[in-house]
Symmetry: C2
Subunit: 379 residues, 2 copies
Amino acid sequence: MSASVAAPQHPPTEGVPVSLVAPPRLLAAVTAELADFLDDHAGLLLDVHPDLTLLADLARITVLGGGKRLRPIFVYWGWRAAQPAGRDGEDALIRAAASLELLQACALVHDDVMDSSATRRGGPAAHIRFADVHRARQWAGAVDAAEAFGRSGAILLGDLLLSWAEEMFSAAINELEPARAAAAARHFDLMRTEVAAGQFLDLLAQTRAELDVDEALRVIQFKTSKYTIERPLLIGAAAADADADVLRVLSHYGRQLGEAFQLRDDLLGVFGDPSETGKPAGDDLRGGKRTLLVALAAQRATTRQRAVIERGLGDHDLDSAGVAGLRQVLTDTGARSAVERRITECAERAAAALGDAAVQAPARQALLELAHVAAHRTR
Amino acid sequence: MSASVAAPQHPPTEGVPVSLVAPPRLLAAVTAELADFLDDHAGLLLDVHPDLTLLADLARITVLGGGKRLRPIFVYWGWRAAQPAGRDGEDALIRAAASLELLQACALVHDDVMDSSATRRGGPAAHIRFADVHRARQWAGAVDAAEAFGRSGAILLGDLLLSWAEEMFSAAINELEPARAAAAARHFDLMRTEVAAGQFLDLLAQTRAELDVDEALRVIQFKTSKYTIERPLLIGAAAADADADVLRVLSHYGRQLGEAFQLRDDLLGVFGDPSETGKPAGDDLRGGKRTLLVALAAQRATTRQRAVIERGLGDHDLDSAGVAGLRQVLTDTGARSAVERRITECAERAAAALGDAAVQAPARQALLELAHVAAHRTR
């Protein structure tokens, strides 16, 4: 087994100051559930053929090699929004919550293939790891065989993770009362359709010559807000048989905070510190990502500034001077500070949505802190 | 909407002489369930954004534009193997059976991306349809933007179909008694892991300089036998609370017939009539598919014949004379007739497995006929 696919240690969860937002037991339980599930299913793969070690190892690296575990955290606080800690079914709920990390792992693996991104969380993306193994072992094939193997391996790995997500979710949620299980599953199903819809809208947005602020916001709503925050909250709340008031509050909170979360992601993708974000500086600009930040800059740009955007955005060979020039335009047009303002407003609206509503006190406190963390994180 | 993505009429199910193997009501019900599900979910997509028509249309074309419906047919006969027609839950079972067509649609869409296959069922593959739309509407982007959009669109479409397969399966199967639902879901879960495992082994097989008969058979077992026949039968049988004898008989039958089915596929891919198979002649040879047929030919080849295989197999630009030369070697080495013999033996063993065992009479009769059809079809 080459070093590039060595099984990872379980790293501490990155990016979110853990003590603020989740009981340490929760994150440990999420990681333990994922590790158990992956061990069990690696066993199934190895029973088929020892060569499937490669697939099992990549699954472990992808799922256990980092990540903020935000979706499980929001599922948990959705559940706690409607009831105190320690209620019947909490272990099953945490197992169901953990399954969302398998879904997210699929999304990242397939995204990196679609975007041809080489890097993920400071290491090689899955399709690059597969290709590296092909080269290191000097396997047979045409000139581009390693790259083709990498892409195909990553497509299959993503499919497997998506199947496993559902398997883990269904098995766990079906331990709850049937009506609660069905209500939670409904949000899980909608979430999966919505995230594919949001990703496809994102693809379509990249095909437009003109950038559009409304389109950028719609992509955010489906690709990120609902998928990362609103639906996870509703899955947890539905599993706890929350009443309509709680569900409405969580929806509103989730949508606002989801927008803030994605806008922060967009800023970090351009202005973030690579040692914190794990992504090379300027990659989002070279990749031509059509974000709200870019849409606002284009709207406000002078002719000269517009030319800088049109020349630099999406240029895969853009050098660091070019990246710096684009950053300057994003700042000088006021787009960067407009996005910062919008993040603050969204996070404030998210917090206000919680108000003095029916959300139970510990959950309200955690969600307030999460609103701050998600909006102002540095990675 | 361009002609290339017009919604299809529901064509009659192709490839299997319907009256022999399935009550006409079954195939009509499978198609109706799929059409209802897709209509409902197209609605969800259009609520997100009208531009998602494109994604919804491609889903319909992929799922309703043909296919033998073999997996639903085997689920149904697995169910009937253990009980008479008309038992409680039969409608739910048929809905669960239909969901396997969504899974298969995902597999085909992703396979065609991985293999860069342009053609599927006599029409353009999904990634080609997406790319065609990009070009027809003159969307913006770099030179290869249409191809990149096509691949990314197809990856997302496949992910959506995979999510939908599970959503449809779980909702339907959960209408049965919990113990039956759980037993059927277990086979559904194993099937999804096994098919990804089989596809990955197939990828690995393509990386080997030497062809290997045992490896080719192992790929068949997981990529096709279990996925197409054995697990569908066991899903139906488990849902009917079949006893261990019935399950064992169906497993044995399914494994044997699955091998016959895939070997016939391999022969049709090389020697089949393109007007029947819907695939251009020689594509499997140009794609370098490492099948048992090719492995046997390599084993038996003279030095000259081996050179023809090594030169031609996997050559994307192979002309029709080159294809004919390869075919000749596959025939002259005796590989073609050895595979034919093996198909007959497998189908006979499948039929013999049914014996006078506990499988109920109408199901036994249907499975005997299916063994003949799957082994001797021309498309």
